[in-house]
Subunit: 592 residues, 2 copies
Amino acid sequence: MADYQAPLRDMRFVMYDVFRADEQWSLWPALNQTIDRETADAILEEAAKLAAKTIAPLNRPGDEQGCQWDNGEVTTPAGYKEAYRLFSEGGWNGLGGNPDYGGMGMPKVLAAQFDEMACSASLAFTLYPSLGAGACLAIDAHASDDLKATYMPPIYSGQWTGTMCLTESHAGSDLGIIRTKALDNGDGSYAITGTKIFITGGEHDLSENIIHLVLAKLPDAPAGPKGISLFLIPKFLVNPDGSLGERNTLSCGAIEKKMGIHGSATCVMNFDGAKGYLVGEVNKGLNAMFTMMNYERLHVGIQGLGASEMSYQRALAYARDRRQGRSASSAQQTDTAADPLLVHGDIRRMLLNMKALNEAGRAFSTYVAMQLDIAKFSPDQQERDKANALAALLTPVVKAFLTDIGLDSCIVGQQVLGGHGYIREWGQEQLVRDVRITQIYEGTNGIQALDLLGRKIFQNDGAYLGLLLNDIRRSTKPEDEFAETLLNTVDQLEKLTARLLSQSRRDPDAINAAGVDYLTALAYVCYGWMWLSISKAAAHKLASCGSDPAWLAAKQVTARHYFTRLLPRFHSAAAAALAGTGELFALSEDQF
Amino acid sequence: MADYQAPLRDMRFVMYDVFRADEQWSLWPALNQTIDRETADAILEEAAKLAAKTIAPLNRPGDEQGCQWDNGEVTTPAGYKEAYRLFSEGGWNGLGGNPDYGGMGMPKVLAAQFDEMACSASLAFTLYPSLGAGACLAIDAHASDDLKATYMPPIYSGQWTGTMCLTESHAGSDLGIIRTKALDNGDGSYAITGTKIFITGGEHDLSENIIHLVLAKLPDAPAGPKGISLFLIPKFLVNPDGSLGERNTLSCGAIEKKMGIHGSATCVMNFDGAKGYLVGEVNKGLNAMFTMMNYERLHVGIQGLGASEMSYQRALAYARDRRQGRSASSAQQTDTAADPLLVHGDIRRMLLNMKALNEAGRAFSTYVAMQLDIAKFSPDQQERDKANALAALLTPVVKAFLTDIGLDSCIVGQQVLGGHGYIREWGQEQLVRDVRITQIYEGTNGIQALDLLGRKIFQNDGAYLGLLLNDIRRSTKPEDEFAETLLNTVDQLEKLTARLLSQSRRDPDAINAAGVDYLTALAYVCYGWMWLSISKAAAHKLASCGSDPAWLAAKQVTARHYFTRLLPRFHSAAAAALAGTGELFALSEDQF
């Protein structure tokens, strides 16, 4: 089985050559003392070691062993505890965290590369620390200073972990109908009662305390999503001096048996009058939770990318090593009975598809991370507003498309191994089982499409999308190799959007009917823009410093592969998005 | 969890209304005493009961329990033995078998419906009996009368089962480099030595004997595929009176831990001078094996369809039952907190995609089964030749496309269930894990694409394809609703084929580079033809007898859904197939 090797060269290329993040850092007062290229490179090197040497070796055995539930206690697979300790000691939990509360304050662009490495190494393991960082974002943005000071530093240090508790057995995509109740204790705390399901890391043995962010309703709350409040509920109550007090009245009732991510405990959590604290305003809980969810959605997209990168690395290693058949044009290695798989066109097609989509996915998620950094660090209000708009627009696209492509690529990577891809010992089948959840949790990809088309595009009459398309058009020069092809899809996307907007005014079902195909079409355009940007950055780098010519030349080849073989998928997705609601709603329930 | 219900109405519609199989049967001397519509319907009813009541209940527990290996013995999951006994007593092993040796002699069109039901009910279970029927085909076509008389009746009766032993650890897609050796014992038998891997049902506790068809090389055989012979090797040697004799020198060394089909034993088989008998001519073993492989390839395609149908049924049941959110146009059921999932456009899109592809897949596999029946039973030589050509052309398409779509549809069916789709108890994730193997075994789908483009199309300069396209054009009338759309893709497919043919003359890598995308493009055209045929048959049936109007109307809606939402995928596949070999072969091994 191939060992994981972090794609550091490509990560640096994307950060510095494609998006020039280091130049931005030096211009931002809040960052120019914190981070420069040298520091960032050192962090990436350390991250690569942690991922390859500490996390990756746990992935297969953790899948075989899984988590064990016994009377409310959850035991993680062997080795998880020690790895989590190393993870925490390295400060990785607080990498992008607020320095006022013990975070390292690093830009998201850098943290995104770390996230990818950790997810490539082991998705199941990485879920435990990943939720804490998101929880801190929500606490930081919405909670009282007291809650911040008490809860954020131990999460950043890794002593404590976080969860998000939204789903109930009858309420998944539809949070408006949750039944978990909160009663005001009259002392600044609340008593929360209800059962939440599918809670990642709801209980485990890695940290001293677990901090749950829980959606619940107050007795007099309005019906639906506008009556939901957010509560912070610790597993162990915290004394004024920060030490742990008594056990709160909450427990893990069971863990799920799942298709994959066996090392990650997916818990049923029972809150039985558990003591909690309001985060943000009463009945504005969904809004506060979205601070965490948007962060996690970007992370989930990167999970898809991480799995896909791992699948590519294993498939490539196998294709170099395994000998089957002869090259169609001529035997390549006549001293052996057969040539390596890599001589075959179809194997190369599969590998190049994966490569083209992974590298564009890395660029795209880094681009969105860059928007978050601009929104956070830029001194220019106008720049911040625009970046916020682009991040809002593209977060659902990253979440859905990188996970859809993640599954596809893991399946392709499994196919390269033939029968061995189906056997557990090779690890490719685990990637498929693990990555599959990313299309479902944090809002299914159908929900992401609704968010994109209904909220992020139509609620502002396409203004956010206009910013994106303007940027694509402005940065695409007529002399660029793929300019015409790309701009043609941009024009078509704009027309498609206008037609859907007009359809949706007549027919409210039009958004939901078109959403998923529309998101796919938009994403293929974005990936086209990424490849144009990568191609130009590679040409510029080759001309300016001349190093790594073979590696940079591969970028041009892969860009061409994307434009000729993959971008055409834009058209089939756009055609489907245009098909309207007629057939979809023509059948009665019995006619299905 | 939804119970399986065989789609009998659709199966009968496809057989009798779309393809008028019953009319054909009455015209064929070898069949008109054996089968008519009434008999066929009775067989289908019995098959549906067996699938739903005997096989389906084993599927989930069989997955959890799996097979156990202990010192060479394999124990199948609880209940398999009893179900296999009922399966055998019903005569299902010999459904399509040669009546001269105890088979029932039923047409493939009928057997294909049974295969689909059994695969929907449990893929893992159904693999045990399915290989025997294929083995008998190869024995019948190539072995001596003595071997036929000895081995075929007990396989048809279910007393014995069959396997195909091709793969070795270093030789999967490339059978030319197998190392298993056969030595002539000089008494009409051979001694076979070697290790075969990935042998489905190589060892188990369901039948008294297991008959292995094994590829091996004689000492003086030419190198490569032209030096391979086929041997019949029984687990227990057979006495002249048909009773079982001593145990042969072969054993099961291990079973694989796999992604899915846990109830099916995938065996490492060690042949240690095992006694075997030549099937067919020396060095013509691959040809003889292909008789079995082509049969199995159709079966594997139907496996994809069966899993996909099961996934659809469960997703539909869930979408009717589960309440999340409100209809975008208006709340449908105001007495409850939320509407059923089925009110949402995206849920309907997913279900209709599955429905459109399943029903076309059923028609398409039945069409290919029909060609096999014509080739076998028609008294007209010209008709037989044409049917043989069409079956040869389309067998790799059924195998690859129905399994590719099978996986996609199982993934979509899982998505409809959201988080519950990822949890084992709901069964949807098992379908994904089980069906995934169908794209890999019996020749990976990449190998199918090579077979289609390289052998079935280019080796006869497109003559077989010409037969198909002529039939499509001849049966499509200008007044048919989708005629223009369909004929447009037929024209494009023809041009694409001509361009690839010309490319491949200059560049032998062109076939392998284009194969998979070409197969996909061709399959979408075939499914379009199926939907045109279904649509016309439905209109005709409605006009002629007037029964089932709502069900028949749904066919028109689903046809429109296919042409507007799914057929556009033809264009993206065709564009990729046209992209050539340039980028694929531009990268050196290190540049990947």
